[in-house]
Symmetry: D2
Subunit: 295 residues, 4 copies
């Protein structure tokens, strides 16, 4: 399992043409990304705007990923608010043929979503599906709902829960140290900001929005780490840290999409009500990519 979770994953963006899903454009992006060194794709992730898609769109998109899988690993974001709906969507994803489901914590009733609720939630889902499950912790998207390291430790022993992706700003080390004695549980960094520091501390890979834009450079960082070239890795990490602050840092998925356009992928606009970058903002971003020799 470790092999399939190591390295760089792309939380692949969903293109829209006049608010309609651009399936053709998505396919083109996938084909191009598949020619890079990435380990795989996260379909229906936060950067895939999965919460802004209808169920039908979600399923068609998953089919597209599986059809264009090539040699890549496909994870699918399937977290809904109810256990029941998450199981249903996860089963559909399983049937379509993805490799993993990545399940975000529910968050609407934040006040009463605690570790007990989350342990029940993930256990019931993992019990009811036949593909391995990754827990997705992302307090920035869930209004602060987060899962404790203690709960993760408990869930990590479930045979069908194989890892987690952490996108909190400060939690990843805590998840790593609390699961490092558990077999076959792996932690992935949810941002380039703590990808290299995470690897240094024991993470095996990362799901990196920047990999929508400069996939091979992200992979290069991973390889430098793997080859023990810590100083080179550090330099590249700091460079990408700054770059990331200008891409998803300020503008979240809208920034990622603008950067994708800049780098020759199809980015386009996020679905409304999200705003696209203004002309000047986009120009400034493009200039930065050029200055850094990235285009």
């Amino acid at each position: 399992m470790k092999n399939k979770l190591s390295g760089v994953f792309v939380p692949t963006i969903t293109p829209f043409i006049n608010e309609e899903v651009g399936y053709k454009e998505l396919e083109q992006n996938l084909k191009r990304l598949n020619n890079t060194n990435i380990m795989g794709h996260l379909a229906l992730g936060s950067n895939g705007e999965y919460k802004s898609l209808t169920r039908n769109e979600q399923l068609k998109i998953l089919e597209l990923f599986v059809k264009n899988k090539g040699k890549k690993v496909i994870m699918a974001g399937t977290g809904c608010e109810s256990t029941r709906e998450t199981i249903q969507l996860s089963k559909e994803a399983e049937k379509i043929g993805v490799d993993f489901v990545s399940v975000l914590t529910p968050s609407y009733f934040k006040k009463i979503i605690n570790d007990k609720v989350l342990i029940n939630y993930y256990t019931e889902i993992a019990d009811n599906i036949n593909i391995p499950l990754l827990i997705y912790n992302a307090p920035g998207f869930t209004g602060g709902v987060t899962i404790s390291a203690r709960a993760i430790r408990k869930l990590a022993s479930h045979p069908n829960i194989v890892g987690m992706k952490d996108s909190s700003k400060s939690g990843i080390q805590s998840y790593i140290v609390n699961t490092m004695d558990i077999d076959d549980f792996y932690v992935l960094a949810g941002s380039i900001n703590f990808f290299f520091p995470g690897l240094i501390c024991g993470a095996v890979g990362g799901v990196l929005s920047l990999a929508n834009v400069i996939p091979n450079i992200c992979c290069e960082l991973y390889n430098l780490y793997i080859n023990g070239e810590i100083n080179k890795a550090k330099k590249l990490h700091l460079k990408l840290f700054i770059l990331n602050s200008k891409v998803s840092g300020v503008n979240a998925v809208s920034g990622v999409k603008a950067a994708a356009d800049i780098c020759g992928y199809f980015g386009g606009n996020a679905r409304k009500p999200l705003l696209a970058l203004g002309k000047d903002e986009k120009k400034e971003l493009e200039d930065y990519f050029r200055k850094e020799g990235l285009i």
Copy 2:
């Protein structure tokens, strides 16, 4: 319009039987609530667990409300993450025959959801539907996303935006003072905690989870205020404030459902992963209702 928005609204709970929507039980609750002095229902509100329902379930539930409307006003919660999906669901609600849509702020991409985004969002929705729209501000459910009083002031002038329901802990006065010179825009309190203080400051009504449980007592508070019996209103308000801290205060919708059971409505369990109250907790709550002479 003011008449239709004044007084007490019930954010009516959705019963579940073994995780399936209990349509029959919902119908029984509606019939009983319709015999009280409430002004109307909010179908598919937070307490209706609308984020845990499939689209199909949502539509069937709306039909049930409209069929059992009697002389009550029906609001429908139709806020989704994308403008497009919110419009679609709002149009369905319109076709089914509800009186108002109540649209929660989107929240997933919290970092980039600002006043400009929200003004575009509500304007485009209001432009595209033919029934009046209420803005629903509830930072407790949106991870802190909130709409500013300045944005509300701007939106209040839209002919199809007729009011807002505020469930923030501290914002309602700000919305009231910033819209009090605007014709035909009304503010409703989203909690009994600030229903009476809100009325005193200019709110016209409230959407009160407690009205699922003790609808006529909530209406009595409203009537005391309307009749200028400020001291009696104050006493009842303080009593209900304490009661509410024991019902939705600790356990959110699970507390409301337990209290509904206690008061002879069909409450049951919230959909998983939410937990039902434990036996002891429920017993304690029941004892409190008894001690206060409410059952």
Copy 3:
């Protein structure tokens, strides 16, 4: 005791001349304020910038208040980080002759300041001084440290703890309902924003930064409430609510000081590093006061 705590208190500002305490200017302000209908002063409050004063300055200022007390009640802010230092300063204040001490929750070690710590803290202080103590809850100044209603209820029974001033945005009702059956414990609102709503729910008075600026109008609001003129009170409340948003709302004590200058008191600059309002900001504020007929 209730008489001495009812009505309007001024959290009186500390004038500075070139960063030195302006004792003469303070005395002039006090004399003028003493000719209004206020019930008393809070010396060394947040708006008195007591955390920016040396111990010596604090003591000299207290002496000045007591000397210029007239018929007014004097409260003194004496909360420090350690129990020991708070007791020492409170005893000094007692010796100087103030009527009450108002003790802010400690906050530096926020992570470990809980109800148990706060109950010990206030109990030990109240046990060791001979003047009555008010608890001061102000999460906006303590980085979120707040005292629970349950702890307040427990402390309210201490014979030497006679009330609290609450400046949280949403807590005051909770404190009121949890102490309303306790003899001789009174709740004061820490902001004009919830002064009138607080009175309606059972508060007895308020410590209002606006009373540094328009003391008699604040007192008029109190009198309207006392005389049952709820509608007039409501109108004045809403007017002052808006005014306050432009005074302390945006600029905290710097806004209060600018407004004091505008209304003929000595305001001047807050101590550095706080910034004074810019010329344009001050002009705009002055225009607003003029437009509203307040100067």
Copy 4:
């Protein structure tokens, strides 16, 4: 300058005997710590409970550190709420003979403390003293007040501002990347939690509460990093990360003091109102130290 700021610093605790400063016990701790490989001490830091000390106590403590300096570097925490008082205390520290002052951001008027205020603040202090200044950013102690990387970049060019200590959970990388092209500005980690990841990214040292307890082991981690033994460093880092969660993680300075007692230093109780650990808690902590072979 870099030499004097590299490696491990102890934010040395202040012992209390029945609430009085235990100068003799402090001296004993210092002598023992001076026999370890630490680079120096931070006197009057957060773990020194400097906000709970009177000015007199602070000065006597600084004198004690300088007298017992040996070959160690002495930093002194001198941040107060007003610019004026911070300068005064910093000058006293300079006269006593410390090597650096470490100045916490002011925080009381959080709402109006922004980058402009902080840039003015640090510039004026640095202009008025003759010893080098470190900026201390610690939102956990300042209720969320934090200084931006942009402001740090600007301040880093001041000839008398030589570095910063960051104790935020997630900011250190941002400060590093934004100052890495500036000569003679150094970043120190304010917690063992991000000491090793910080070093990997460019920090030069750390001020580590654990160094009150196991100074040489903290130094060993530093040396492993310096010698490029990344894997060994990682293992030790993860071990100390867990240890730290049990020491300052749960109980802040009270945990550090209990652990100091366990390891043969004089710890004792924090000043009230802070609570000491209970007997069971302390026993459990001692057992953990024993199990890990640390005592």
